[in-house]
Amino acid sequence: MNFGVIVFPGANCDRDIAYILRDILGQPTRMVWHEESDLSELDVIVVPGGFSYGDYLRCGAIAQFSPAMRATVDHAKQGKQVMGICNGFQVLTEMGLLPGALVRNRDLHFVCDRTPVRVERTDLPWTQGYSPGHIITLPIAHGEGCYFAEADTIKSLEDNNQILFRYCDALGEVNEAANPNGSLNNIAGICNQAGNVLGMMPHPERAADKALGNTDGLALFQGLLQTAMAAV
């Protein structure tokens, strides 16, 4: 499976994800500079975490106009997979590939922690490595991770099962106390209606190497690869 990782000025999780894809999973992985526009050979495009273009104006706002992101829109339109993590999720909402927006955390703090997350749906490549209701622990690190959308958008996300990950407590209960940033409906990660575009605030790539003591994020990438194997 050919992976591409978009590198913006200010991206800082690009090498972390490339390490997981290339070194842990053995997949061909290319770093894509934001000025590149031919991404046609890629199967999966990853928009990594960080602070693209300094997060000036709004997080992810300026990145959407880069040639690489314009090519990413075409990639997504073809039904190919796009994954945005943290700042990448913010970029995907800013450009409209995913609904809603990520705003300042409820308590204004930059949250750097590990949080339980419940896997809500497992019939997509992104989550088929998990079982339904699976509670995993993933790192989060963001100041603007509070998911917001108007009530009708939230309803359509719920009705179409587009919410893939929700913040929960250790027992899997989804409640306000287990919500680290004030996200509506405890949303930690969503997909588009077709299911080929994923955005999530938690960092699965920081929980995919045994050396770091937590591999709860690895099944996400393994699930993706299963799809590719099945398609061959």
């Binding site: 909402t93 809603g100 705003v103 955390n105 409820r106 917001f148 108007e150 004030g182």
Partner: protein, 91 residues
Amino acid sequence: MTQSADVQSYQAKVYVTLRPSVLDPAGTAVRSGLSHMGHDNVSKVRIGKYIEVDLTAQSKVSAQEQLDKICDQLLANPVIENYCVEVFEAA
């Protein structure tokens, strides 16, 4: 871009505000600070952005139209923000 005789310089003042349905924790924190200062009569603070844009255009109307596009596409995120634009002829 060189300025030809038939274009005019304009300055725009762009105000970007959070939509009423979006919580503003920063504004709430400022209101709390004002309360600590003794300004108990301040009931609400909402924080937005003020942006100045200098541009040239054929007319004030075309400047306004261009600024609306600029705001819709970049300066404001319509999911969470409203904006208003005031256009002035530059001196």
